[in-house]
Amino acid sequence: MSETTETTETNDLIRLTALQMAERLRVGEITSVELTQAHLDRIAAVDGGERGVHAFLHVNADEALAVAAEVDAIRAAGGAEAEALHPLAGVPVAVKDNIVTIGQPTTAGSRMLEGWMSPYDATVVTKLRQARLPILGKTNLDEFAMGGSTEHSAFGNTRNPWDLDRIPGGSGGGSAAAVASFMAPLALGSDTGGSIRQPGAVTGTVGAKPTYGGVSRYGVIAMASSLDQIGPVARTVQDAAALQELLGGHDAKDSTSLTEPLEGLLTAARQHDVTGLRIGIVSELKGEGYQEGVLERFREAVTVLQDAGAEVIEVSCPHLKYALGAYYLIMPSEASSNLAKFDGVRYGNRVVPEEGGTIEQVMGATRAAGFGEEVKRRIILGTYALSAGYYDAYYGSAQKIRTLVQRDFDEAFSKVDVLISPTSPTTAFGLGEKIDDPLAMYLNDVATIPANLAGIPGISVPGGLAEGLPVGVQFLAPARGDAVMYRAAAALESRLEQAWGAQLWAQAPELDDTRSTQPVGVGTADRTAGGENR
C-alpha cells in the first residue's frame, strides 16, 4: 500500500466537515468504513502516549466499524432502506463519557464508576444508533462533569490540540479536543454551566447548548438536573445544527423534555443572512476579568455582524452579576442529591474498610475513595445549602436570583433577537494553572452560566485567535429560539471564514504522531527515538 497518498487522503478526509463527509458517503465517493477507519487511525496517531491529546477514555473500533459496514451494505444494496438512511448515517461520532452506552464502559470520569457497564442506552445514544452513526468511543471529562478544564478527570487530563500544555476547557474537554484534532467530526457534550460552550471556545470548535428540554437527558449522568442539557460539538455551525436536530425531540422518558421538537435548525444555519437581525451586546458580559485579546476578537465579531446588516444595540441584564453565585448554590444542591446514589451498594466500586464496618461506614469509605476533591467540594457545598435553617438563605435565595436572571433575559429578548458575548473570559490557560484555585476556575463560566439558569440556548463559535489561541463568541437566544441562534452563529462564522480565507482550524498546529510503538517497518526507530525525547 502507498503510505504517503493514503496519509494525505486520510488527512483530507478527516478535515472535511461532517456534512461534507455525509455528502461523500451519499454519493458513494467514500465508504463509512474508510471514513471510520480514518478517524480510528487518527485517534491511534495523536490521542495516546504521554504527549497525546488524551481525548478518549475508551475507543470501540470494532463496534464503530461494524456500524460503518452496515451503513455501507445498506447503501450498496440501494432501495428503500438506503433512501431512508439518516443524512448523517455513517459519519462517526464521539460520546462524552457521562452518557450511558450499552457495550462500552461509562465512567463519568470517576473512579466510582470505573469498569461499570450500563445495561441501557441513553436516549441520545439510541438516536445515534437508529441513525447509524458509528460511535468511536467515549470522551474524557471532569469527574461527573464538574470542572472547567478536564483536569478533574480521575483518568488523567486532556490536552488542548492548539497547545498541548494548555487545558481543552471543561467539563467536555474530551469531546472538544477530539473534534478540534480531527479524531471525530462530531461529538456529544453536556452543558450544565458551559461544559459544551467553553471547551468549544478554547479549542476553536463549535459547541451548542440547546434550549432546556430540547434534547432528552435520559441516560445522561446527572450533575444538576435543572441545568444539564445535552448538545452537539462540531467544527461548523451547520454540523452542530444537523447533530442537534438528530438528537432533539420529545422523549417520554424525560418529563422535562419539550413536547414540540425544535425544528429548522439546519435550515437556519444555512441562511447566513443577518439583515435586520437585532443583536444585543450584554453590558455585564464583557468588562472586568476579560482578557484583552478576547475582547478584541469579540469587538471584531460585532463589527462583522453590523457590516453584514445586523442591528446591534447594548442591553443590560443587571442580575447577571449574581448569576455565578446563584449557580454555585443551585448546581451543588442538586448535585449533592443526584450523586447520593453512588454508595457502592448496587453498582460501581465498593470500598470496605479494612476492619469491616456498618453499611454507613462502607458507604462512607466508598464515597471517600471514589469521589475526587472537586466532587466532594460540591457535594459538601450542596448539602450545606439544603440544610434546615440554611435552605431559605442559600437555595431559596439562589432560586430567586434565577427568576430575576430569567426576567432580565425576557426583558432583553423583548428588544433583540439574540444576545452576543465572549464565551469565556480567557483563552485556554495552562495545565495545572488553576487546579488549586477553585474560585478562579469557577469564574471561567461567568458568561456561560446565565443561559443554564434561564434555560435558554447558547452557542459558541470560533471568533479568531488571541496570542495564537482560539477565542469563542457566544450567541444566546430566547427559549425555543435555537434556530435564530444558529442563524446568527452561522452568519458570523461564514463572514469570519471569508476574512480568514479558510476555516480557523487551518491555523491549528500539526500534531505529532505519538505512537511510542510502531509496527515493524520504516521509521520505527526514528519514532521510538522521538518518543524518548519527550
Binding site: Y120, A122, Y218, S225, K341
Partner: protein, 504 residues
Amino acid sequence: MTAVTDEVLTFDEAMAGFDPVLGFEVHVELNTRTKMFSSAANAFGDVPNTNVTEVDLGLPGVLPVVNGKAVEYAIKLGLALNCQIAETCGFARKNYFYPDTPKNFQTSQYDDPIAHDGWLDVELEDGTVFRVEIERAHMEEDAGKLTHVGGASGRIQDAAHSLVDYNRAGVPLIEIVTKPIAGVGERAPELARAYVTAVRDIVKNLGISDARMERGNVRCDANVSLMPKGTAAFGTRTETKNVNSTRAVAHAVTYEIQRQAAILKAGGSIVQETRHWHEDTRTTTSGRPKSDADDYRYFPEPDLVPIVTTPEWIEELRAQLPEPPAERRKRLKADWGFSDEEFRDVVNAGVLDEIADTIAAGATAAAARKWWMGEIARLANVEGKDIPELGVSPADVVEVEALIAEKTINDKIAKQVLGFVAAGEGSPRAIVEARSLAVVSDDGALTTAVQDAIAQNPGVVEKIRGGKLQAIGALIGPVMKATRGQADAGRVREIVMEQLGVTE
C-alpha cells in the same frame, strides 16, 4: 428483643387522669399496573428483584416519569376523603442514605400535597359517628424490602448481612395524614380501629388498592399523646410504626395510652420517638428518637414538572366515584329491612359485600343473612379465619338455597355441604352429587323403609290408628335413620299415613 417491660396503668386508670390525642398516617399501596415513576410491574410476591427497571435500581442517568394512573387514584381518594384537590402540585426529594432507597432519596410530595383539608365520618360500633379531620393525602414511592440475616435484633445494625428486594421500590403510595384527633376519650382504641377500617374500605371500594393489610397494602402509623384531664395543650407524642391490622391499631393505641399514662403519673416525661409494635406481646418498644428537626434536605424534584389538575378532570373523576361505603350501608340496610342490631352484626362480621352479592345473585335478604351470619360464620370461627377468607362464595350460598328450594337437600344437609365447600371440595351441587347427599325422594325406597318401621313398632302403629297423629314422629325417626338423614320428612309422613290408612 428487648426484655425490658414498661410500667403500665390499667386503661381505666389512664382514662381517669388523661385525655388521649390521636393522629394517624396511613400508607396505601396503589394497585396500578406499573410503579410510581417507572414502567416496572407493580406486583406482590414475585421473585425478588424481577420487577425492576434501571429507574427502580437508581442506575446512573435515569429519570422518573409520573404514573398518570397513580395521580388519578390520588385525586379519587382525595375526593372520597372530602379533600380540596390542589390545582398544581409537585414532588420533592427527601434525602437520606439507606440501602432500601436506591437513589438515597425518596421522591415524595412535601409542601404541596395533591389533596388537603378533608374529613372522614367514622362510625363506631354502636352507630355513633365521629368526624376525623384529614390534613393531607400525598403521593410518594415505596422503598425496597430489606431482610436482615443474622444478628439478635433483626435490625440492620447487627445483621451478618442484609438482603434487599427492589420489587417494592417505587410502588406508588398515598399517605393520608389526619389532623390531631382530640375529644374521643376512652373510645380512642375503638376510633383507631374504626378509622383504619374506614380508610381500608374506602380504598377497596374505590378499587385503587388491594387493601390487604396482611400484605402491607394498607399500613398505619399511630401517633398518641396524652393531656392531663382538664387541660388543652397537646402532650409529647410517640409514633408507633407499621401497625398492620385494624385490631392491632386499637391494641397499639391502648398500650401507648397505658404506658404514657404510667410515665406521666409518675412525674416522668414522654420521649418523642418512633416505637415498634409487637403483635405477639401487644406492646411497643422504643425505636429511634424522632425530632421535628430531622433534616431530610427537602427540595423540589428537578427531574419532574408540576402536576396540573384541571377542574374538568377533577369533575370527571368525581363522577366516576362509587357510592361511599357509609352511604351504601345506609341504603342497603333500608333495602334489606334489617334491624339496627342485625345490620351492625353484619357490618362487624365483615360480610356486607358477601351478603349484598348473595342477594344480587338471587337469594332473599333473610336467607343470605341466615347463612352468612349462621353456619358460615360458625365455620369461620372454628377455622379461626375471617369469614371472607373461608372460601365460601356468594354463588355457593345461592346454589345451596336453590338445592333446598328444589328439595334436593334439606337445611341440615345444607350445613354439611357448606362445610365441604369451605374445605375446597367444589361447588355445592358437585358436592351433593359426589357425596350422594341428595334427599331420598324415591317413594319405593321410602315406602320400604316406612313398612319396616311399621313392622317394628306395633305399639306406635296402634296409637296412630287410634287417632294420635302426633305419634307419626316416632316412625319418622327410624326412617330417617335408615336413609341416613336424606329423607324428606314431609314425604315420609305422607307415606306413613297412606300405609296406615289414616287422614288428618
